[in-house]
Amino acid sequence: MTTSINVDNEGFLKNLSDWSPDVANQIANNEGITLSDDHWEVITILREFYLTYEISPAMRIFVKSVKEQLGERKGNSIHLLNLFPGSPAKIASKIAGLPKPTNCL
């Protein structure tokens, strides 16, 4: 589908303030993901993490945060990989409208 959202060459939002649930759906579509409730509960956790700490969590901390809030069954890297195949922290952050990470670790 064609999208009207303003993203960069890696699909990250150029202006973080553009984010809305609709925009998240479009970013997810670009990644070949259709957002379900399972996705949304993770996206909500990520956004809360970002609002609280103003950083995007590293993968290990991402898993830990999901585990603390949703329990063992969902707070593991397999579940997150299933939801956001490839690189869960990066792709989920992109859909959640978090800043593009530096190529850091």
Partner: protein
């Protein structure tokens, strides 16, 4: 890289939160050290105690909130926070104004921490 528990790294922070990007870059370093499971101690001295004030609202000076990111450090596994007691007194700060659980130390204790560290990085 294998963590070496015999080495202790003392990170000494001395800058106020918004005078330059050093405060921010120091936190970034600590987050990276935590990711590699390094044994680090954080010591706030001088103006750096002002980084700990938990009511910072720097959006209108177009800065990111240093206290918010500092408060993520315990989740990353860093738990050794020390503060120069004299600096707290100098600025009249009390524990409930601070964003991290800290231990107050005297100059003698700070000198000992430095003496016992393997390396120190000052930011």
């Amino acid at each position: 890289m294998t963590p070496n528990t015999h080495k202790t790294l003392l990170v000494i922070l001395s800058q106020s939160p918004y005078s330059s990007s050093l405060a921010r870059e120091a936190v970034d370093y600590c987050l990276a050290a935590a990711a590699f499971e390094q044994n680090i101690q954080l010591l706030f001295i001088g103006d750096a105690v002002l980084q700990l004030l938990n009511d910072q609202q720097p959006a209108n000076i177009s800065q990111k909130n240093v206290a918010k990111t500092l408060s993520a450090l315990p989740i990353y596994g860093i738990g050794n926070f020390f503060v120069d007691h004299e600096a707290l007194v100098r600025y009249g700060l009390s524990d409930e104004q601070l964003c991290l659980p800290i231990r107050k130390v005297t100059p003698r204790q700070m000198a000992d921490m430095l003496a016992n560290a393997t390396h120190t990085l000052n930011f």
